[in-house]
Symmetry: C3
Subunit: 147 residues, 3 copies
């Protein structure tokens, strides 16, 4: 956690999508100092006419490479500075690894509480002690959280 939704226009190959997700995850791990396997990524592909992404008048040129990212993250866990670092590293990584023009990147975050998550087995790992709420690391080792 965060859970991260990616909206893109249809046309990238499976390998290209994988590279994009690896690259974005690396940005997340670096900016948010989250565990490597704190990785929850979902991609939805759209027809070109199904994504209309403008710019509030800032004059940003969008293309069909546009990537819209939405993160659900726990409230109060990341500072404004960390979020700004995430945006910056996402832009840097996706340009470097996927050739994405930083003009083609839109990101939003919504926040919830530790009790608003279950990452498996029908349990709430961020409040039941399985995961350390501050670090997102397992608290008792892998096996303790099983059924």
């Amino acid at each position: 956690m965060p859970i991260v939704y990616y909206d893109i226009v249809r046309g990238r190959s499976r390998d290209q999508i994988r590279t994009l997700l690896d690259s974005a995850q690396a940005a997340l791990v670096e900016a948010f100092e989250t565990p490597e396997r704190d990785r929850y990524q979902l991609v939805t592909e759209h027809s070109p006419g199904e994504m209309i992404i403008q710019d509030n008048g800032l004059g940003i040129d969008r293309s069909e490479n546009i990537v819209v990212i939405h993160l659900i993250n726990r409230r109060g866990m990341k500072t404004r500075t960390q979020k700004e670092k995430l945006y910056e590293l996402l832009a840097r990584n996706l340009k470097r690894d996927c050739g994405l023009d930083p003009a083609d990147l839109v990101i939003s975050i919504t926040e919830n509480e530790s009790e608003d998550l279950s990452i498996g087995y029908g349990k709430a790992q961020y409040v039941n002690g399985d995961i350390d709420s501050a670090t997102s690391q397992p608290r008792r080792g892998p096996s303790a959280s099983r059924r």
Copy 2:
């Protein structure tokens, strides 16, 4: 309300998806004591490479049966205990009714306010008196809320 988004990998039949949605709705009604017809479900299907769902290092084995559920619910309406019951009942029901391994279930919730919902006719039923905010039941009978 809640509005519930389901993300799955392509491959289930229409009947299997229906069973999954019925089963999840039964869990919701039981855990949240919400009306049967308080049912707002949307499924998005993905290619296998479009869902990368790991485990924070807890050692949870995911398969292509993975189901990621996101609920939008009103803030302050459900306690932590009710949410934990929801996660537990979703895992129980989906295992019983769909054979879903509880390791293949990830759930998140984000919350909004009563004014942040319109369930038809361009009205805000949770603040205009059509629906009882505490019970989510109609307040005046079915016909009163029409145009």
Copy 3:
């Protein structure tokens, strides 16, 4: 910003989808007094069995024309009255422009903070001065926000 997600059943033509998005954007601009190019729209198409949208018992007749809209907007920027106006104008516009029965319209909003947005270049335009947080208008003209 808002970022607006539209869920519909597969079957509309590309032109019909464009009309729907134009119509909804006009409602948003009128109700929220937001700039024309504050436009971030994503459409996801579903099979009929993938959207089960009931009515809390209010007796609302849904059809396969159902449109479920979700907005992510900044917290505290819009009053309850403005949100109710948005719902009303979305129903009015989509009926007028697309023939959508207002019974087929469900809307939800979740809110985030100004720092929770990046609309391009890996920057946080609502907190770095590029966009006026109150009006959502560019503050320094189009060119200043580029790399």
